[in-house]
Amino acid sequence: MNADTTARDGEKTAERIEPGPAPATLTVEDLSVHYGGVCAVNSIGFTVEPGQSVGIIGANGAGKTSTLKALMGLVPRSAGRVTFGGVDLTKVKAREIVRHGIGYVPEGRHVFPGLTVEKNLMLGAYARAWRGAGTRESLAEVYELFPVLGEMRGRLAGALSGGQQQMLAVGRALMARPRLILLDEPSMGLSPKLVEGILAVLLRLREEGLSLLLVEQNAKLTFEATSDCVVMENGEVAMVGTSRDLRDDVQVRRIYLGL
């Protein structure tokens, strides 16, 4: 999805700040998040190279979701530097982040329940030209990736099953043509079979050259979908390594895979 962005950049998208053709690296340094006096994320750092897929695993309350929200500017960052493709994201308003090429799939899906599937997707392209040729093209791409969404395009998003809503949330994020996509617990509440489906989608997005940052409690899924992983504990980075090494690590196996 990223590879052909350059070719389409010629279209007239007045409102869209076109992502630069150069692939962008996400760099996070010393990021901290506090809620009141409570520290949720304590001075963490990692990078996501272009086309790389990175997982963040950890138990409930480890600070994974807060990290993603802080990247999106949805919770205030108490300290740290976040850059994406050279742009300092700490100076970018939350609503502008998407215009820099970062898509976000929130925890618990958060689709717009009272709007149709198609309108949900169209809103994903809010930062681009509304009803433009590029938006229609992206819509076709999402329907190709998730045929079930095409079948249900006129249905209200609130009437979809959990798995379908998850696809819709991913599709909505893709509509902005991101270079990096942040996914927060896409497997939450889904049956093992649907988790397989999510894995297949993540692998396909990887193949298409999109950078992924995946936050999960499901360590098995994360190890399969990503090349590198960060293990978080109590708001801090406990371990970093390739997904393969971590999967074979005795301690990680015991804590996260129950083996």
Partner: protein, 289 residues
């Protein structure tokens, strides 16, 4: 039968006005989860502005209405801008802020137009139309037609435009809306401005039916609010149905119970709300309330 039908038509035209007021309440409520208590007084300012442009400046009624809508729209934008820092911080203060704005608007109205109030002459011909022996005031039909047009335009805006879709998205999930790039503050401002415009439309239309005075917002506003509650607060079709229900009820109660009519209207309203606390159409819950 004839009396019944004539009362019904009178009730419907009054109901159309309550529906406009209720839609204003609902639009702001569904977008921000906020009951705008200044709404009734914005209506009063709209009524004064329309009557001033119409009678003092001698503009055509339609143009006077458009100008009144523009004036109150700006007031709506101003109120939202002042209250915006409180959003997501202190909701109660925001609510009290709207009450405060209502008081300020009343005081401003007394300063500009005086405390006594004024009558507004009907913009369309005096003789009632006759259909099959039924006498209908032309103005009642004008009110119904304008209200219908306003509903149509509002629904078209919400359903067909990018901004309308964005406003609905903000109403449903403001965090997800922010993540796709929607300016939540601007969406709220537009909801406030549209709500104020609807109030002005209602105020301008009600002018020739009632007496325009600084406290008129109280009576019409509370009935419009009741209409919004009756329909299920935040629900636009519900607001319309609620408006007509209150209007017709009002009209029949006035005919049968005279002095006690308001009591009867609110008694019926209370009973219905006790039976269905979410209102007639209210299954949708606004998560931000």
């Amino acid at each position: 039968m004839q009396v019944f039908l004539q009362t019904l038509i009178g009730g419907l035209s009054l109901g159309a006005i309550y529906a406009l007021v209720a839609m204003g309440f609902s639009l702001v409520y569904r977008t921000m989860g906020l009951v705008n208590f200044a709404h009734a007084d914005v209506l009063m300012i709209g009524a004064y502005a329309a009557s001033t442009f119409y009678m003092s400046t001698r503009l055509p009624f339609a143009l006077a209405m458009v100008l009144a809508i523009a004036v109150t729209g700006l007031i709506g934008l101003f109120i939202e801008r002042v209250l915006r820092p409180l959003e997501n911080k202190d909701f109660t203060l925001m609510l009290i802020g709207t009450i405060g704005f209502g008081m300020v608007l009343q005081a401003v109205a007394v300063l500009i137009w005086g405390a006594t109030g004024r009558a507004v002459r009907t913009p369309v011909g005096g003789a009632p139309l006759e259909f099959f022996g039924l006498r209908v005031r032309t103005y009642d039909l004008v009110v119904l037609a304008i209200a219908a047009a306003a509903v149509f335009l509002l629904v078209a805006f919400l359903q067909r435009t990018k901004m309308g879709a964005a406003m609905q998205a903000v109403a449903m999930d403001h965090e997800a809306a922010t993540a796709v790039g929607i300016h939540v503050g601007r969406s709220n401002a537009i909801a406030f401005a549209l709500g104020a415009g609807l109030a002005a439309l209602a105020g301008g239309l009600v002018g020739p039916l009632l007496y325009v005075n600084p406290t008129m917002g109280g009576t019409i506003g509370i009935k419009g609010f009741a209409a919004a509650m009756l329909g299920g607060c935040g629900n636009i079709p519900g607001a319309i149905a609620g408006g007509f229900a209150i209007g017709v009820l009002d009209s029949f109660a006035a005919g049968h119970f005279q002095g006690y009519s308001e009591l009867v209207v609110f008694l019926v309203f209370t009973v219905v709300i006790m039976i269905r606390p979410t209102g007639l159409f209210g299954e949708t819950t606004v998560s931000r309330a």
